[in-house]
Structures are given as C-alpha cells and as structure tokens.
C-alpha cells in the first residue's frame, strides 16, 4: 500500500455565532489520503465537505473559527505549525483548486503575472527567464495549445474550461504532493468536464499526486475516484472503495443518494428520493443526524450518534443497523 500523505484525525471545526454561541460544521471526521490515489469526498450542500478541506489548509479566519483534532501531512502536524511554516506548505506541498475558475483568478492580472506569483513565491532565486519557462511548461502540462499567447491573456479572455486549466496549472506549478480539488468541474459543461477529469487523472498518473476530490456528483466519483468518503451533516457516514460503495452501500443515506441520481440508459417514471431536507447546522437532530429522514430509523437512532465502524475490508459505516438496509436492498 502506498504511503499515507494526509491523515486527518477527529477533526472538528466550529464557527462562532454571536458572542458565546458556536455552531459545529464538521463534527469529528477522520480519514486518510495516500500518494497516487484519488479520494472522493461526497455529500450535499452544507454537509461540511468544503469546510473540511479549508480546515486542512487552515484557510478559515482565526477570529471566528475553532479547529480541533489532528491533521498530519508527511509527519508534520499542520494545525500546530506557525503561520510562516504553514505558508511554505500551502501551494508547495498541498495545493487547492476551487469551484469557480472565473472568480478564483484575479480579473485584472494577466495569466503570466498570476502564474509567476505562485512560482516565484515558492522558488526564490529563479531568474525571470527561468520563471517564464516554468510558466510555459505548467500550461503545456495542462494541455493549453498556445501557452505563450495564453500567458498574455486576462482571465475574461479565456473560457471557463481554459480558466480551470490555468488554475490546475497554477496548483501543479510547484509539483505538490497533495491536490485538493473542491468541485473542480461543477461550473463547467459536460464535454469540458470530461476533459478536466481526464487531465486530473493524467496528472495523478504522471506525478503520483494524491488527490482529494470534493464533489456532489456521484457520476464524477464513480469515474475518477478509487476510494469514497460520504459526509452528511458534518459527519462521515460511510467510507469504502468506489466499487464496493456503489455495489454494496451500507448506510441508508448512501443508498438513497445513489438511487436518487438519474442515470443515462435507465429511464424510470419516478426517481426514488430521500424525503425531507438536510438539517440546519444550528438545529441538529440528536443522535444519528440522518434519522429524521431515514426509512429504517428506530427509536434508538435518536439516542446516540453512531460511530464509524469497520463493516468489511476497507469499508466503514456509521449505522448500527446496516445489516437491515442490505437485506431490504
């Protein structure tokens, strides 16, 4: 098994609301990302998947956020590092791609200036021409046909797909070991999405980069990830290798989620859906947070938050009654 790059243990992120009130967005999650694997972090809006990734990068404001737990990256405890040390890791060792390529790039800077900023910040002492050569190489790597021309462009002159390529080029410019991609293709059209996903796989194959892919799209997960983590309302509810998860979902939420996705070639009159909606962060149900929407819920479910337990090889699930779910499925 490949070396573990990132290890998150019992990560809890809380945001300040009012003077003394804290609301919990991520409630004790633990997972790992190994070198050369693409791990999918799936869940619906508000489940805490983006907050988790921002906590790993320590990008939350210190004034209103409380992060506890342990984040280890290659033996370094990220949550305990001083800010300058963390700065060294961001971009250099772990980099991030965001959902909106158009708004993540600075609209009044040429692409070259933005790329140069990223490269020279982490590689002091490079000459101008060396930096330029690396910019060109970075754009070539992501399949931009005329890098010299693109470098002179402003973001508004590029399409969404091209901007996302530039973002990936920027993220990959310092050859990070871990790439966190937060909904990288959500704002893109399907044909462009296919190109970007193929590019991410190619980068993984060539550089053995570990990728944490945050998405709500189960189709994207099924095609690119080797392992999947499913989050619901701030907790991990299930974790499994991708084939195992789709073939054999244990948690009722995972099962409902997989069933409610319309699929090409399998036309149904009605889609199975999960009743109700995601609970509000400030009014979480007690016990299992999925219980109010769960078809298999029992009185015991709202008494205690179920723990994530091993239910098979590499397969973890946070539902003590998973056996019933499987029987009915």
């Amino acid at each position: 098994m490949a070396e573990t790059l990132l290890e998150v243990k019992d990560l809890k992120t809380e945001f300040k609301r009012g003077k003394k009130d804290w609301i919990t967005a991520v409630n004790g999650v633990s997972f790992q990302v190994r070198a050369g694997e693409i791990v999918g972090l799936v869940g619906e809006s508000g489940c805490g998947k983006s907050v988790t990734s921002l906590s790993v990068m320590r990008l939350h404001s210190k004034h209103n956020t409380r992060i506890t737990g342990e984040v280890t990256f290659e033996g370094k405890h990220l949550l305990e590092l001083k800010e300058p040390e963390m700065q060294e890791i961001r971009g250099n060792e772990i980099s991030m791609i965001f959902q909106e390529p158009m708004s993540a790039l600075d609209p009044i800077m040429r692409i070259e200036d933005q790329l140069t900023e990223a490269i020279s910040l982490h590689n002091q002492g490079l000459s101008k021409s060396e930096v330029h050569a690396r910019c060109v190489r970075a754009l070539k790597l992501v399949g931009i046909p005329e890098p010299e021309m693109t470098l002179r462009n402003y973001p508004h002159e590029l399409s969404g797909g091209m901007c996302q390529r530039v973002m990936i080029a920027m993220a990959m410019s310092c050859e990070p070991k871990l790439l966190i991609a937060d909904e990288p293709t959500t704002a893109l059209d399907v044909t462009i999405q296919a190109q970007i996903l193929a590019l991410m796989e190619q980068i993984r194959n060539e550089h053995n980069t570990g990728i944490l892919l945050i998405t709500h799209d189960l189709g994207v997960v099924a095609e690119t990830c080797s392992r999947v983590i499913v989050m619901y309302a701030g907790n991990i509810v299930e974790e499994a290798p991708v084939k195992e998860l789709f073939r054999n979902p244990h948690h009722p939420y995972t099962k409902g989620l997989i069933e409610s996705v319309p699929r090409l070639g399998r036309r149904v009159r009605r889609l199975p859906s999960i009743p109700g909606s995601v609970p509000d962060l400030s009014a979480m149900p007690s016990g299992c947070r999925f219980a109010p929407r769960c078809a298999y819920a029992r009185p015991e479910c709202s008494a205690r938050l179920p723990e994530l337990v091993e239910v098979g090889p590499d397969h973890k699930c946070a539902c003590p009654f998973y056996a019933n779910v499987r029987k009915e499925a």
Partner: protein, 329 residues
C-alpha cells in the same frame, strides 16, 4: 405523446435572434451575438419537450423568445393556433397566463419581501378577477398540491430550503392553469436527493393537470428521465431532434454522441468510453461557417465548413442536421 392528428400547442418556425455587442463611434453595433439561428420545432399538447445543450447554446434565449420577454428578429411562434411573434406587449399579457415559467435559481426568483401566499397569488391577481378570499383558497390548494401545507403561506421565502422554494415556484406557475410550462433548468441548483423530489413533483402535476412542458436543461440524465422528445442545441442551432428512446438509443449527430459519451456514469463497474471532443465552444459572435460544429467535430470534412446541413429525417420523428448522420465517432 402527441400524435399527428392533433395540432401542436406550440410551433416555432425559423426563429432567429441576435444581440448587438459594442458600439462604434456612430452608435452602430460592432458585432452581433447570434444567440438563436433558424430554430424550428413543435410541441404537442401533453408532452414534455426538452431543449438540451451546453451553456451559451441559446436554449434559454429560445424560451424567452417564446414568452416574448424578448422579441425575435425573424421567424414565427405559433401558440395555440395564433402567431405571437410580432404581437404587442398589450396583446401578449393575457397570453402569459397560458404559458408560465419555472426558473433555475430558487433564491433569485422569489421576492424576499413577499409572503409565500402573495407570491403564489400574484398571477391570480394579475390574470383573474378572483376576490382576495378566493385567491387565498386557491393558494392553499396549490400549496397542498406541491407538497407544502397551507400554514406555509404566511412565511417568507428565506424560511424555506432550495427544494421547498422550487416547489413554491411551481405552485406559482400552476396558479393560473397554464397550458404550457417552461421550466428553465428547474433542478440544476438543487442537491441530488432534492432534485429527485422536484422531478417527481413535476411529473405528478403534469399527469394531474395535463400540462405541456418545455424543459430546458444541460443535464442529459435528467432530460432522459422527464422528456418525451428532445432537441439538442449547439451555438444557437438545433443539431438533432428525436423521441426520447431514439435519441438516447440511436444518436446520429456527432455532437449528440460526444455529449452523451461525456456524461459521467454513476457506476464504477461500467467501463468509461469517453470520446473527448477537442477545444472549446467557438464564440457566438463569430459562428463557424457551414455546420457550426465542424471546428470540433472529429468527422468533419471540407464540405462541412462550406455547406450548412439541413435537417434530414432518418427515422420517424428523428431529424438530424449533419452531412454524415449515423457515423460513429
């Protein structure tokens, strides 16, 4: 599904619209965005007709032309036996009761300062002579129809989740008993589990009130589930029109094939066979000559850049605008 004996509810003939961009010194536009080019289709009573395509293909502009939020440059729009392409705003107003819209953004399409019952009742105020009491009664019925309760009418939109807001939008569209509902990406802002609920609701109310839908979406899997007939648009033109099973089972246009193959399948066991089409969408200000898709088409020949392909019927009701239909890419 409509059969040939009944007249279409809506018939669009050679519809075109272009928008000016930039002005020269004398106030003449420098360039034109060709948003919709020579689009024709029929919608039969009781069917769901879908327009699919990537961003910027003109699908939303088409719907706005149909309910005359914008005036077409050329072409006819025959709604219920009457050409409405050139009628005045005054004549158009009463007709809008018969064609209602459901919008994409459940947050932007409901006024934050109005109570839900006033939002749903507003079309009744505009289009009918009902008294306040009658309107309220009707609003309460509608709230029940879309799966909310009468008590929800007193609340404001911010108190509802995205899925519930979309239900409110659907109730508003239903209030005046329209013949045609135009739904522009009604589920793309919603989470998957909620998306399934809203799609099922659209299905249910269609059966109950015998509605005709014009469904606009970029999501091919959603379109497959809900539509009877589908038109695929690219750069303002229709590339292929076919009944549901025909289009998904036997796509003839290379663009349709590429689009279908780019959709990620939510099943890791299925081997992916994406045909990646190269490059980006050309700018709509400068539409390629001949077939608009020829710049990205793997099968393009010299003829494609010269001659605009005319729609050919390859199977009953299945029209393809391609010089070489049916070739696999």
């Amino acid at each position: 599904m409509g059969d040939s004996s009944t007249a279409p509810l809506l018939s669009v003939r050679n519809l075109s619209k272009r928008f000016p961009v930039g002005k020269s010194f004398f106030g003449k536009p420098k360039k034109w965005v060709h948003a919709v080019n020579n689009v024709s289709f029929d919608i039969m009573p009781g069917e769901t007709f879908a327009l699919v395509g990537e961003s910027g293909c003109g699908k939303s502009t088409t719907s706005r032309l149909i309910n005359r939020l914008i005036t077409p440059d050329e072409g006819e729009i025959i709604f219920d036996g009457r050409d409405i392409a050139r009628i005045s705003e005054k004549e158009m107003r009463p007709l809008r009761a018969e064609m209602q819209m459901v919008f994409q953004d459940p947050y932007g399409s409901l006024s934050p300062r109005m109570r839900v019952q006033d939002i749903i009742g507003e079309p009744l105020l505009v289009h009918t002579n009902m008294s306040a009491g009658e309107r309220l009664k009707r609003v309460h019925e509608l709230l029940e129809v879309v799966g909310l309760s009468a008590a929800h009418g007193e609340r404001y939109p911010h108190e509802f989740s995205g899925g519930q807001r979309q239900r409110i939008g659907i109730a508003r569209a239903l209030s005046v008993n329209p013949k045609l509902i135009m739904a522009d990406e009604p589920v793309s802002a919603l989470d998957v589990s909620i998306q399934a609920q809203v799609l099922n609701l659209l299905r249910d109310v269609q059966e109950e009130y015998n509605l005709t839908y014009l469904f606009i979406s970029h999501d091919l899997a959603v379109v497959e589930m809900i539509s009877d007939r589908i038109a695929v648009m690219y750069l303002g033109s229709i590339m292929e029109v076919a009944p549901n099973e025909e289009l998904y089972g036997n796509p003839q246009h290379p663009y349709t094939q590429a689009l279908l193959s780019a959709v990620p399948v939510p099943d890791p066991e299925v081997e992916k066979k994406h045909v990646l089409i190269e490059g980006d969408l050309p700018s709509p200000t400068n539409i390629p000559s001949g077939c608009p898709f020829h710049t990205r088409c793997p099968l393009a020949t010299e003829r494609c850049s010269r001659e605009v392909p005319q729609p050919k019927e390859v199977a009953p009701g299945h029209f393809v605008s391609c010089h070489f239909p049916g070739k696999d890419i």
